[in-house]
Symmetry: C2
Subunit: 147 residues, 2 copies
DNA sequence: GTTCCTGCAAAAGATTTGCAGTGAC
DNA sequence: GTCACTGCAAATCTTTTGCAGGAAC
């Protein structure tokens, strides 16, 4: 694979942050590399635990600072799954994105995407006459395993 | 419309809770009556302030207990508008419901409903083969006033 | 050398829990 | 009288902030 196309998410993040005048510290790199490898959203504590398990523990405050920076630059998304429980995940630079189903039984977060849903939201924002920069859709129910 | 049917939300709440073996205390009644009159979602602190302003202050713990009870029985909904910021609103017994746009400029929460969106979510849950009990849609952008 | 990054400890908020007293039925 | 409801204070949990030292450029 690989000619010269489609930058990976990490590369994209690095170039956006560099352009914004940020240096590359160790803690930030580790959070970015970890997020880049995730199939789905993680909480700050899960990120902390995962990095500790890999032998590169970093302070929780740093994790929140990195996440805040990523969200601010539109590079990551915060998914609110409950009172005081946020999870974070990478936003693909291509603009592709997905939504989540949170299972009441097992608590698992399942990702999915759906063009019909995107279309409905487009129509809606046009109808309302508002500018929608971002949308979160969170379904609650039972996943196929728990059904 | 209206012969003798369609119970109001408060009535519905009272009958559901009574059936579940709950008594009717003062604090609970006040929170329920307040929520019944709201056009849109309130935070726990807003509820506390509103009740204090009406001269019937109640403990914040009681507010959270009432809200938890309502959510548990499917009588109210929690809307997560940010990290550590939940708002609550009544769920109409008819099943009618709406979603929200939160304005980045003024922070206002705007309610709307949209049949196209509901349809898209129906189709989606059928396609995924999951049972969706509840869905939250939260748009972020600028409202008409701030546009 | 200057400016940004990091970790630690403390702070700030939101929400929950323990407990003793009060009220509903 | 019994069991649920309430308020207060304390505890818990997530997230943010202040600050001193260390790293990037």
């Amino acid at each position: 694979m690989s000619h010269t196309e489609a930058p990976t998410w990490s590369e994209h993040v690095h170039s956006v942050l560099a352009r914004a005048g940020h240096q590359r510290g160790g803690a930030r790199e580790r959070v970015i590399e970890l997020l880049a490898r995730q199939p789905c959203a993680l909480s700050a504590v899960e990120i902390e635990d995962a990095l500790r398990a890999e032998g590169t523990p970093i302070g929780r405050a740093s994790i929140y600072r990195v996440l805040e920076l990523l969200v601010e630059h539109g590079l990551a998304e915060r998914v609110a799954v409950g009172p005081g429980q946020s999870r974070f995940e990478a936003i693909d630079p291509s603009g592709a994105h997905h939504h989540h189903l949170i299972c009441r039984e097992c608590g698992r977060l399942v990702a999915f995407d759906d063009p019909g849903l995107e279309r409905a939201i487009d129509n809606l924002s046009r109808r309302l006459g508002v500018r929608v920069e971002h949308h979160d859709v969170l379904l609650r129910g039972s996943c196929e395993k728990c059904e």
